[in-house]
Structure formats: C-alpha cells, structure tokens
Amino acid sequence: MPTEKEFVSLLNQHQKIIYKVCNLYMQSHADREDLFQEITLQAWKAFGNFRGDAKFSTWLYRVALNTAITFYRKEKKNIVFTTDEVPEQSTGPQDPIEMQTKAMYAAIADLSKIDKAIVMLYLEDYSYNEISDVVGITPNNIAVKMNRIKGKLREQTQKHLATV
C-alpha cells in the first residue's frame, strides 16, 4: 500500500515534469497553478496503480499529459498566445537564436493538445517506442505524426519570425 509520504517525496523530486506540462498547456499563471494542483491530485489518486515496472517519470508524464488534455473548466475567452508571453531569457531580444527559440515556442503553443504531448516527450529525448507507450498509438504512427509536427513547426516558426 503506497503511503502519502512516499508519494509526496517522489513527486517533490519530479515536480519539474508537472511544471513543464503546465507551462506548455496553460498560458496564465493562475491556470498553471490550477493545472498543477489537478495533476498532483490525479497522480495521487492513480498512485495505487503505479507498479514500479515503468520509470516514475514516464508514469508521471502519462498522468500529467492525460490530465492536461482532459482538463475541464468553464469556457473562457481564448487568450491569443504571442511571442511576447514567452518567459524572457537572459540574453537580449536581438539574439537570433533567442528569437528563433521564442518563435518555435510560440509555434509549439499553437499546436493541438495531442501534438503538444508528443513534442513534450520528444523534447525529453523519449524514443518513439516510449512515446507510443504514453500516447497509445504505434511507434510508426508516432513517427508519421512527428514528421508532420516538424513540418508544421517549421512553417509556423517562419510566420512568427516574419511578424516580429
């Protein structure tokens, strides 16, 4: 029987995962806080099913992404995500790499919730097999989707850069 202490300790070590998912799926600080709480609760509820045969991080990604995708709240006006809302890094705004990163980040924010999940795991260097375990479609399908996503990102990044 898993204890609350055990769960809290594990989650504390892996809380960055939840933050990454919250940052990817929510734009405002308040929404990120709400999602963080929801993911924590859902992970605690599901912790009894964690067998330890998978890595805790993979298991947590699965719970966090499931929660973010199905997060249910009262309809709000859609907030348009612009490059201005991307958290600032230390270097100046004229740095081309920085601008590229901002544009790519904004392009990722425009993706569908499913595509965001795949990109998130891809950024974490998960293999197609591992991504397929989390998403629930075959590694081949993941490869097809990933190719398509890369194309979309390339196109969107150019558009975002053109508007800067």
Binding site: E4, V8, N12, Q15, K16, Y19, K20, N23, L24, D34, F36, Q37, E38, T40, L41, Q42, A43, W44, K45, A46, N49, F50, R62, V63, N66, T67, I69, T70, F71, Y72, E75, P87, Q89, I97, Q100, T101, M104, Y105, I108, S112, K113, I114, M120, Y122, L123, E124, D125, V134, V135, G136, I137, T138, N140, N141, V144, R148, I149, K150, L153, R154
Partner: protein, 221 residues
C-alpha cells in the same frame, strides 16, 4: 532552425517560471478538491443519489400517510422507480470509479472518458424525457379512477374554469408544454455542461486515429 536544433533551449524555456514547492506544499495540495470532468460527474452523481434517496423517502411517507388511494398507489409505484434509478446511478458511479484512472495511455484514457460521459449523458437524458410523460399519464389515470375527490386538485380547476372542454385543453397544453420545455431544456443543459467538451475529446481521438489509418494505408502500398 529546426526543432532538434532548439531542443535544449526549448527545454530550458519550459522550465522557466518554475518555483520549487516543498513537500509540505505538495501534501497540502492533496487535501484539495479535484476539478477533472470525471470528478465533477461523480459529484453530480452523488448529488442525484442523495436527492433520489430523499425523494424516495418522501414518496414512501406519502404512500403510507395519504388518505387518497390514487396518491398511495402513485407514491408507492414511484418509490420503486426511484429505487431503480438510484441503482442505475450507483452503477454509473462504480463504472467511473473503475475506469477513470488517468495513468492509462492517452488514447485509451480519452476513449474511456468519452464512453463514460456518453453513457452518463444518454441515461440522464432518458430519465428526464421518460419520467415526465410517465408521471403525467400515470397520475391522470389514477386521478380518473380515484373514488374520493381530491380537494386541492379540484380547487385548481375550479379557479381556471368549470367547463370540461377547457379543462382538457389546459391539461393538453400543460403536457405538451412541459414535455417540449423539458426536452429542449435538458438537451441545452447537457450540451452546455458536457456536450462541447465531449465533442472536443472525440476530436482528439479522431486526430489519433487519423494517423493510424494513414499509416495503415501507407503500409499497404
């Protein structure tokens, strides 16, 4: 630049705006209320179960205490129906508890939620639509066969107008109006509450299935 070339930068970007929480902060979060759609449905089901039990108790009381035979039959019959409804609500609650685990693969989890929500919406709609005509027809037939005069009901009709044809028209308008009102109100309410959300989840499933079909077609060539 491509996604692969910006991997590290993007990972850093995602990790910003991150303030470390302590174990005490995390433990405090576990005491709060969940807002997932299944948690909301569960709360809604519990509310309906409590309401059904309370209403059944009231019906049983009327069935025992009323001096009118029609009311006694009506109340006792409906207390049985309410018990059946409570049973179905418990069954739905059990299904949600069993299937609503968020550590499944994304596709399977979405499919589970959609199946459960579709069933919940269907059952809710069925109950609302079936109960009203059953209630009206049942109560009207019992009223016709009632030996004693129910003073309260008669008083209502006396106030409207004493003519028989007018009474029938009022009843008919009441039945049609209530039925149409309930039908559209329930549809609107369910769509507003869950309909758009279910449609969105179905769209995600379709998005996942789409690649599967394309991949199968591509492999076949």
């Amino acid at each position: 630049m491509e996604l692969d070339e910006l991997k590290i930068k993007l990972k850093q970007q995602l990790e910003t705006d991150h303030h470390q929480r302590t174990e005490a902060d995390i433990a405090a979060l576990l005491k709060k209320k969940a807002h997932s759609v299944l948690s909301k449905i569960k709360r809604s089901l519990w509310f309906e179960i409590i309401f059904s039990v309370a209403f059944t108790a009231l019906l049983i009381y009327v069935a025992v205490a009323s001096k009118y035979q029609s009311l006694r039959i009506y109340s006792s019959s409906f207390s049985v129906i309410m018990l059946l409804i409570t049973g179905v609500l418990f069954f739905l609650l059990k299904k949600i508890n069993l299937a609503g685990s968020s550590n499944l693969p994304i596709r399977e989890n979405l499919q589970n939620i959609v199946v459960l929500m579709d069933e919940f919406i269907r059952r809710y709609f069925q109950f609302c639509i079936v109960l009203l005509p059953v209630c009206i027809i049942f109560s009207a037939s019992l009223q016709v066969h009632e030996k004693e005069t129910i003073v309260e009901i008669d008083a209502i009709f006396q106030k409207i107008r004493p003519q028989q044809s007018y009474k029938l028209l009022v009843i008919l308008l009441y039945v049609v109006g209530s039925f149409a009102g309930l039908y559209y109100l329930t549809k609107w309410y369910l769509k507003k509450l869950y309909g758009n959300f279910v449609a969105q989840l179905k769209e995600y499933i379709r998005e996942l299935e789409e690649t599967k079909k394309e991949d199968a077609a591509y492999s076949g060539h």
